[in-house]
């Protein structure tokens, strides 16, 4: 059975290559900082399960220190110039889209055809981990296709991947680090404290007030914790179940679904949802770290209002 372990091994080898190529990159004055940073990431993926909790903790501190002390530079692997790219684009034409399209095609093929397969009574891949396993498979197949079809040098996936990962820099590891902070928050009971504050201090005597507390609470709590999944159990147990569903007779499915989507409005407004909000500005080379959040805030606030209205109108059938 194919599990995430194989994917981690692949990712670890890729990061080890980034580290090695970084160390050799004389165009980057901070090349050893980059080598150490990506080397630590490689160690996490290759040996994370053997490092022990404390070892992994030291690894995280190491990453934070390298990034925080400004030791992460930007590698400059040899690549094609803008002029060369224009010429190549004209030569290859629509062929250029084939590898990019191969990614979703192989991914869907994996999920539809490979995932249900069984070999000797065993499923081919762990059903829970199938989306990520298939994504990794699709990425590998598409890179192979790009190398052959676009006649690119064999080293180019690693050098070009390094070019992009250096563009993103420390932000690439922020989502995983924030998820680790979420685990510490959970251990310390941060969620419960906030949940108690919300339920004890906010008025919920009318249906409208209770709807507002639940939806605004989901959004606000999500902004603090970085994702709606941490907020949902706390506020649903504290507000939705006792007040909206039991006291005011709300439809549980409508209350829960619209409550979760109110949480998503919070996700759009917080830097703690780093993979959605902080990695893209780095990838798009925007000077303002918060540019994407700023573009999302008006939509998020309007959607939050819309969710409250939808819940108030649709979730109470009587």
């Amino acid at each position: 059975m194919i599990k995430l372990g194989v994917v981690y091994l692949l990712l670890g080898l890729v990061f080890a290559a980034y580290a090695g190529l970084s160390a050799l990159d004389r165009n980057n004055p901070k090349r050893f900082g980059n080598a150490a940073f990506w080397g630590l990431v490689a160690a996490s993926f290759l040996a994370g399960d053997r490092l022990g909790d404390l070892g992994n903790g030291v690894l995280v501190v190491g990453l934070a220190l390298i990034a925080g002390l400004g030791q992460l530079g930007r590698g400059r692997p040899a690549t094609t110039s803008p002029e060369e790219r224009k010429v190549l684009a004209a030569r290859f034409g629509e062929k250029l889209f084939v590898p990019a399209l191969a990614l979703p095609v192989v991914l869907v093929f994996g999920l539809v055809v490979l995932k249900p397969l069984h070999i000797a009574g065993q499923p081919l891949m762990d059903p829970k981990q199938a989306p990520l396993v298939c994504l990794a498979l699709a990425a590998v197949v598409a890179v192979g296709l790009a190398l052959i079809l676009l006649r690119q040098p064999l080293i180019s996936p690693l050098q070009e991947g390094r070019r992009l990962i250096d563009t993103v820099g420390w932000a690439a590891l922020l989502p995983q680090t924030l998820a680790a902070l979420g685990a510490v928050f959970a251990l310390a009971g941060v969620g419960k404290v906030i949940g108690d504050l919300v339920t004890h201090w906010l008025p919920m005597d009318t249906r409208a007030a209770a709807v507002a507390v639940y939806c605004l609470g989901m959004a606000g709590f999500t902004m603090i914790m970085g994702n709606a999944f941490a907020a949902f159990p706390v506020l649903t147990a504290g507000v939705a179940l006792p007040i909206l569903i039991r006291r005011f007779g709300g439809d549980p499915a409508a209350v829960a679904a619209i409550g979760m989507l109110s949480g998503f409005c919070g996700t759009l407004m917080t830097p703690l949802a780093a993979n959605f909000n902080l990695v893209p500005p780095a990838l798009l080379e925007l000077p303002d770290r918060y540019a994407v959040i700023k573009a999302q805030v008006p939509t998020a606030l309007l959607m939050l209002l819309a969710n409250m209205v939808l819940m108030y109108v649709l979730a109470f059938p009587r």
Binding site: L4, L59, A64, R85, P157, L241, P252, L284, P287, A295
Partner: protein
């Protein structure tokens, strides 16, 4: 109440634009110590959380593909492609992308597109190029505004589409949480109730994109006059 000190560290640290990785480590230490844990226990909890969440980083495996395709001219080709449509404009283009994102996410195809695999190499260059065809040379500020809108549209499209998919994580979480309190939910009904919000999201963000488009044109003609 002391437990919330770590949250304060996060808020202040991000607002003051310290390096977020450092902010996160500091917040974890403060939270753990405030909750009465030993320093090494907090470090261990942080390390365990980091190791358990490695799957979050798997999406970076698409970078080599994107980089190789860019090396061979993918961004330039995307610009040429949009040039064939004389009437192309960033607003309608992004509205179309949002519809695609919402619909595919609703049937579970979430990672067939994304910030690395589609927004950077395809959608953002196409939107910039469409704006250039109409407005001529763009200022850096305009260019950055268009890119930020492209990234925002990707997020909004996915967020308000994925909850319609039955097997999506949040749907399963909702079923689980309510089941533990004795309320049985049919996942199908949960996904149905995600549809009204999805429609409203399309209308609201679509309208904002069309207004953004109009503002771009106004700005351009303002400069020309």
């Amino acid at each position: 109440m002391l437990t919330l000190l770590g949250v304060a560290v996060v808020v202040v640290g991000f607002a003051a634009r310290f390096n977020p990785l450092l902010v996160v480590v500091a917040a974890a230490m403060v939270t753990g110590l405030a909750a009465g844990l030993a320093p090494l226990a907090v470090l261990g909890a942080l390390g365990k959380g980091f190791n358990d969440n490695r799957l979050v980083t798997v999406a970076l495996l698409v970078y080599p593909l994107v980089g190789v395709a860019e090396r061979a001219g993918l961004q330039e080709r995307a610009r040429t492609l949009i040039g064939r449509f004389r009437n192309a404009s960033p607003g309608p283009l992004l509205v179309g992308y949002m519809a695609f994102r919402q619909i595919t996410a609703a049937v579970g195809l979430i990672s067939i597109a994304g910030q690395a695999q589609t927004v950077r190499p395809l959608v953002a260059p196409m939107a910039e190029s469409a704006a250039e065809m109409r407005l001529g040379e763009l200022s850096d500020e305009t260019r950055h505004a268009i890119r930020a809108q492209a990234a925002a549209t990707d997020n909004i499209g996915v967020f308000f589409g994925e909850d319609i998919f039955l097997a999506f994580g949040s749907v399963l979480l909702m079923v689980g949480v309510l089941a533990s309190s004795g309320v049985t939910l049919d996942p199908l009904r949960l996904s149905m109730w995600a549809i009204p919000t999805a429609v409203v999201a399309f209308v609201i963000h679509g309208a904002r994109l069309m207004l953004f488009d109009r503002a771009l044109r106004r700005r351009a003609t303002g400069i020309a006059e």
